[in-house]
Amino acid sequence: MRLRLAVLLLLAFMTLPTVVVIAVSFNPTAILSFPPAGFSWRWYVNVLTYPQFQRAAWNSLVVTGGAVLLALPIGTLAALALERARLRGRALWAAALLSPLVVPGVAAGLGFLILAAALGLLRSRIVLVVAHVALVLPFVVRSVWVSVRNLDPALERAAASLGASPRRIFFRVTLPLLRPGLFAALLFAVVVSVNEFVVSLFISNRVTEILPVAMFNYVVNYTDPTIAALSSLFIAATFLVIWLADRFLDLGRVFLQH
């Protein structure tokens, strides 16, 4: 009983900020108040009509789209090699591929900034795409690797013995069987890239900045609830993604039994 009460209180602590953000986003006045003094969509209108957010949303689409399209095939091939190639030091390769995960964002961000400056690429979104590929790759490799490990090679041998070419086996047998891993990889890659902030802050400017960076700059400069409205849109999208993931993947299996 006491445990149940403690868990409820802790869950309330965890969800409190989300509830407050959503409530504040409908506040009719620019001065923040809770509970809201009325109901208004004006901050949502503000989000959709603020030119800098429109530009940042487009940048996010380009950067995340580009990074995910590159990271998915790169990570899938790497996962196949990690499981199946005759590789010396397999554990070391795996650790190397997952290593960007453990590098502090400010270190990676400043490193990419210095590198981009040396290459004269500071005004370009290419640096952002490359950095995002490196940051989401560990998630892709891990997700796909789990699926490769569960894949029974007998199925591919059966296809080969029935006369299928290696290319046909890959596209008709291997890839379809990897679908759960690929779906999880896609989900993680999109979520990580869309929300990436620290590294992106270092390597973007007003023209190339993605949404989280634009939101940060807005929070630093203004205090009205516009960011609450944009945050609420992010939260709604997040719940939709988790709900989808829970329907199509068993989240408990993904997260609790490694």
Binding site: L3, V7, T18, L77, L80, A81, V102, P104, V106, P212
Partner: protein
């Protein structure tokens, strides 16, 4: 088959090049007013020990330690419930509520705390926003999902037969918990603690927004020097410090659990 690794190695090479550039610049002399550095020097690392910056390093370590302890205490009950509930619906709900902040970006989560701590919801008896207390609350909230997942994984690996055996021998539930469950979940506590400590050492958005320039952790100094003062060499030295601390701690976490970090 080995060739399939090549594209991934190319990506890693770019990442390594960025970190190498960072390391090289941390050893170059900063010339104020110029983006072109001078020759090799250790001055940037000596600057880390200057009083104003040493203060930030000390604050960082204290905040990270407090965050780790509070996160452990706050996460354990939720992780326990998550690992042990017989109901699939409860498990699903707990998991979604745990994962939601995990999937929500740092800015969204931190901004939410700006609202809560900034006397929007309620008036706090003591100032919270732009104080170390406020930053601590934000850091604990930020670390909880990670800790809950690590602890729940550790707890779900414990065979309930041990607890049943202790209970059947007459141990009361509290004794079963302290003498059986808690010791068996130690690997999760140690690796979760080290991972949260390491991550908090390089926390950036939380102290940046909730500290409002009054609370400086290592990552905030990196940003101030690198993006505001254009002192890339000095900034790089602090970034190298954050990197070294994080890697050392994660290596320790890996040694304790004998497995991969995170």
């Amino acid at each position: 088959m080995k060739l399939l690794l090549l594209p991934a190695i190319a990506v890693l090479a770019v990442f390594a090049a960025a970190l190498t550039a960072l390391f090289r610049w941390s050893l170059l002399e900063f010339i104020p007013g110029s983006l072109v550095p001078g020759g090799y020097t250790l001055d940037n690392f000596r600057a880390v020990l200057a009083p104003q910056y040493l203060h930030a390093v000390r604050d960082t370590v204290i905040l990270a330690a407090l965050t780790t302890v509070l996160t452990l205490l706050a996460s354990y009950p939720v992780a326990y419930a998550l690992a042990r509930t017989p109901s699939r619906a409860v498990r699903s709900t707990l998991l979604v509520l745990t994962l939601a902040p995990f999937f929500t970006g740092a800015i969204v989560r931190t901004y939410a705390w700006v609202l809560v701590l900034g006397n929007t919801v309620m008036t706090w008896p003591i100032p919270m926003l732009f104080t170390e207390r406020g930053v601590l609350v934000g850091l604990v909230h930020f670390s909880m999902p990670t800790m809950i997942l690590i602890l729940a994984a550790a707890l779900s690996h414990i065979d309930p037969a041990y607890e049943r055996a202790a209970a059947s021998l007459g141990a009361r539930p509290a004794r079963v918990f302290w003498r059986v469950t808690l010791p068996l979940s130690m690997p999760g506590i140690v690796s979760g603690g080290l991972i949260v400590f390491a991550w908090t050492l390089s926390a950036f958005p939380t102290p940046e927004l909730l500290g409002g320039g009054k609370v400086k952790m290592i990552a905030n100094v990196v940003k101030d020097l690198g993006l505001d003062s254009f002192n890339w060499p000095g900034s790089a030295a602090f970034a190298m410090l954050a990197l070294a601390l994080t890697l050392a701690l994660l290596a320790a976490a890996g040694r304790f659990t004998g497995s991969r970090p995170a």
